[in-house]
């Protein structure tokens, strides 16, 4: 599996990973609660522009990441108008009719709104994912947010296991093949293969993990409360400026939408 991170040296790349979370998290949470289609649309554009311009992500690369997501949400557009509770959209006009199934405009708007809502959340997190090296994020969690470095380094060790898992899988596959187990077939064979591969793969992974743990222990990993770091991350003034500016612009966008009457009701208020 390929990493989504795009290595570059841009404004967003140079920010502390945590500041990108602090800035986007409140906006994403707010978007998760919106119901009207306008708010997510505006923020999809907002997130997209910031990521591409300030993250200096090539537009093709951005589209390549986003396209499968667009494919995912078309389902909402197709299915939700049929699935929506008839009582909820009873007042709206009929869009079209297939036999006894009536699709109303309210249902279509509901599908569009749900799709856009989910897409806006993903565009929000993509701003972080595309511009942040995961190891740097873990370093920041350890250094700025006081995550135990034993947990942080365990997660970083996990990244190092990925190539090992790939090569082990190849070894297991070859071993099964040389013993005459077919490597082809449909869904059923896929399931059988997953079952055959799971235990040996996990067993080797555990064995490798134990050896790594021994190596780390022998270098006194975890012996002290604090430790020194090869890469020291800081929370600089530009991080505060970014957080402030991002939240201010987001708030302005929301206020403009509210003023124009396009904000719609929030989901929490609707449910309870």
């Amino acid at each position: 599996m390929e990493s989504l991170y795009y290595q570059n040296d841009s404004l967003l790349h140079r920010l502390n990973p945590l500041s990108k979370i602090v800035a986007t998290a409140p906006v994403i949470l707010f978007l998760a609660l919106t119901t009207a289609p306008w708010t997510p649309s505006v923020f999809i554009l907002f997130f997209g522009l910031i990521t591409v311009i300030w993250g200096r992500i090539p537009i093709l690369r951005y589209l390549k990441t986003v396209t499968p997501l667009l494919f995912l949400i078309t389902g909402f557009l197709i299915f939700y108008p049929f699935a929506v509770d008839p009582a909820r959209v009873a007042g709206t006009g009929i869009a079209f009719q297939i036999g006894s199934v009536v699709v109303r405009w309210g249902g279509i708007i509901f599908g569009v709104a749900t799709a856009l809502r989910i897409l806006s959340l993903i565009f929000g997190t993509l701003l972080f994912v595309l511009t942040t090296d995961s190891s740097d994020f873990i370093r920041a969690l350890v250094q700025q947010w006081r995550l135990s470095y034993r947990i942080g380094y365990s997660a970083m060790a996990a990244y190092r296991f990925i190539p090992m898992l790939h090569s082990e899988l190849a070894v297991i596959r070859a071993a099964h093949k040389v013993r005459g187990i077919s490597d082809r077939g449909g869904l059923r064979a896929q399931y059988d293969r997953a079952r055959r591969y799971a235990v040996p793969l996990l067993a080797t992974a555990i064995r490798k993990a134990e050896r790594t743990a021994l190596a780390m222990d022998s270098r006194a990993f975890g012996a002290f409360e604090t430790r020194s770091y090869f890469r020291q991350l800081t929370f600089a003034r530009r991080d505060w400026v970014f957080i402030g500016a991002f939240l201010a612009v987001s708030l302005a966008l929301i206020l403009i939408l509210a003023k124009a009457g396009l904000l719609g009701s929030l989901v929490v208020l609707q449910e309870f």
Binding site: T65, V84, T125, I151, A158, F161, I206, L214
Partner: protein, 201 residues
Amino acid sequence: MSTETTTQPKPRLKDWTTRDLLVMAAISIAFGLILAGVNYLAGLLLAVNPMLAVIFSGLYFLPGLMIMLIVRRPGANILTRVIVNLAQLPFTPFGWAPLVMEPLFFGGAAEMPFLITRYRDFRLRIAVIGGVAAGVVSFLMMLAFGFFSGFSFGFIIATLAIFLLSGALLGGVLATVLVNAIAKTGVLNSFAIGQEQQEEI
């Protein structure tokens, strides 16, 4: 646990050896990669029908329950969720978002039956209850975020049923089956679970 005390075992990181942490990391990355793929599949199914997307929910609780059965330490479910989410960070467009709530809600729910039995009972039934509890909490979270707004009552109940079934089977039962199978290979001999599985010769 090394010391036998009458007080409730507290989830202390100090009790975790480097070996525990690294075994957790290895299992977490393996399932992190699988779950990053399942995320896309579940997203597609969520679009077609939210009821279908829920079928795989138990897989999300699986690594936590497995680590709990292997290392048998308080907090295993929560910590594993943290590591799984950190490990799959570069591979999922959702990024850090699941990291905020999943460990606490899914992990915390799966942790409950083990906490209630004071981390002394690691049989199948406790793991199944853990998977079911995590399923209930995920269902409530989907409800709170309005994923079911606009759907009929029968649909919502059916989704809950799938949550429970998936949590029990793909979560609790599969965790127990996998851990027992791995223990039979001998790689877990230094853990309590491996000691139990060893046959006298």
